[in-house]
């Protein structure tokens, strides 16, 4: 089957029910997307499919054929994604960093859909888990991007 990932078309040989995450990491070597819980609970494996955030560990690969997939490796090709990464660096959000690629993808999806999210909307969308507890820094960075967009 053919997959569109980061503006590139890949020929993939996988069973229909293979989780997208295994294809991305093991078959294509795009290891920026992380395996966390495998149960759609933590969000470490978040990627964008047609601009919406999905958890790659519970996404059967057959379901994303013909759709546009974006992983952390290409998030800066997106204008909003680029600003999110800059804000992440500015606020030094990452501590151990394992969950952060998923956090960046979730924040990018939120800000593309809702450029000026309220606190409640941020809390509702940023449900990825972070064992270092970087939640306050994440909130600050998301607010920063939203404010910058307002000024731009």
């Amino acid at each position: 089957m053919q997959l569109r990932i980061n503006q590139t078309t890949y020929e993939v040989d996988a069973d229909a029910d293979t989780p997208l995450l295994w294809v991305i990491r093991d078959d294509l070597g795009l290891t920026g997307t992380k395996y966390g819980c495998g149960l759609a609970q933590c969000g470490a494996c978040s990627v964008l499919v047609d601009g919406a955030v999905v958890r790659a560990c519970v996404t059967p690969v057959a379901g994303v054929v013909g759709r546009e997939i974006t992983t952390i490796e290409a998030v800066e090709a997106d204008a909003v994604g680029k600003r999110v990464v800059s804000a992440w660096v500015k606020h030094q959000v990452a501590q151990c960093g394992y969950c952060q690629s998923g956090q960046v993808m979730a924040a990018t999806a939120l800000l593309k859909h809702t450029p000026h999210p309220s606190d409640a909307q941020i809390a509702a969308a940023m449900v990825n888990l972070c064992r270092c507890g970087t939640y306050n820094a994440i909130h600050a960075a998301v607010h920063d991007v939203a404010a910058a967009q307002e000024n731009a």
């Binding site: 229909a16 029910d17 293979t18 989780p19 819980c37 149960l39 759609a40 609970q41 999905v54 958890r55 519970v58 996404t59 059967p60 057959a62 379901g63 939120l110 809702t114 409640a120 909307q121 509702a124 969308a125 449900v127």
Partner: protein
Amino acid sequence: MTKSRLATTLGCFALLCLVIAAVLAWYVTRTPASPFAAQASAAPPDPALVQRGEYVARLGDCVACHSLPEAAPFTGGLKMATPLGAIYATNITADRATGIGAYSLADFDRAVRHGVTPDGRRLYPAMPYPSYAKLSDDDIRALYAFFMHGVSPAAQANKPSEIPWPLNLRWPIALWNGLFTDPAPYPAKPDQDAQWNRGAYIVQGPGHCGSCHTPRGLAFNEKGLSEASKTYLAGGLLDGWYAPSLRNDPNTGLGRWNEADIVSFLKHGRNRHAVVYGSMTEAFNNSTQFMSDEDLGAIAHYLKSLPGDPSRDGPAWQYQASELSAASSAPGAHTYVSRCATCHGLDGRGQAEWMPPLAGATSALAREDASAINITLNGSQRIVAAGVPDAYRMPAFREQLSDREIAEVLSFVRSTWGNHGGAVEAKAVGKLREHTGPASSNPIILQMR
């Protein structure tokens, strides 16, 4: 004069009581007839018969209760809670001291089809002999050959039941049997074709589908043992799960499934409507996936012949689109979006046949909310199809969501996309939380040899 008449009356009454007691004593201890009674045990049977017996054991899912994952096959030990106290499945290997090695074919027949041991003791109907009564003589013979020659004898003493005296007296079960069971093997219906009859035989007999899917009466009796009853396979509540209707009910049953859907569900554990979960996981992992395509087709054919009941099932479900986003404010909607939608979809339609839709799901349409609550609290067991554990399974949310949050998200699911199962109360969640535990994340496959 009056005195002597009184004495006569009393005497007659006493005699009558004695006669009744004698008849009763005979009735409750008698050995049921077996067509194999006069047959002596033969030499080791044809290997083909043993193999046939193994298949019958698959149809009957004997292993589900008579084996534990860590123990030798068929040595029993599974604890079963009953309202009266716990009982334990027994060792049915051919070990002579602790198993059934000393059973003749007739003894075996009486135990399997009539629930009576060689010493005249009645089995508890946790052993589904009300269904197994319908097994054919040929299948009983094959099953016996398998347990005597296909399964390794293993010494493992049976655990005594924990039902206290006088509730542990077994003889009243004979009366229960007289009222609620039919000892005759399955009678083929001449007005139906061979496929239908084969399906009816498996469903009613070895498959004992009714044990879970038929509602039970006050005496814990199944309210029907064949399609002659309108409540046969109409859905039942058992062990914290609602086993849905297997009749043509569009909401709580198989009304929207075609025969191929049913075959796929029983063979692969999934189809476009649903994925196996709850108690059905054991039936799938150990039994239905091993059935032949012909038998699965026959089961589907038979089940699709059972009419639904609109007065019980209500108006047929139809999909209604619903706008959902992370900002949805309805109680439960936010939990759904953040916890459930990644798999089950913002539109409630799931993902192909891998993650089941909740829109139109039986658990979201049935009045009984036990399955919806149970699967949310405890998650699903691993489905192992053709030796491969499933890639996706429902996680347990008991540690993450409170009773109220689960009640809210389920009330939301059961009232969105056209679902009309109705609200779930936090109290009901709390009650099931106490009586259940999380599903194991390890694949559990019981070996038969």
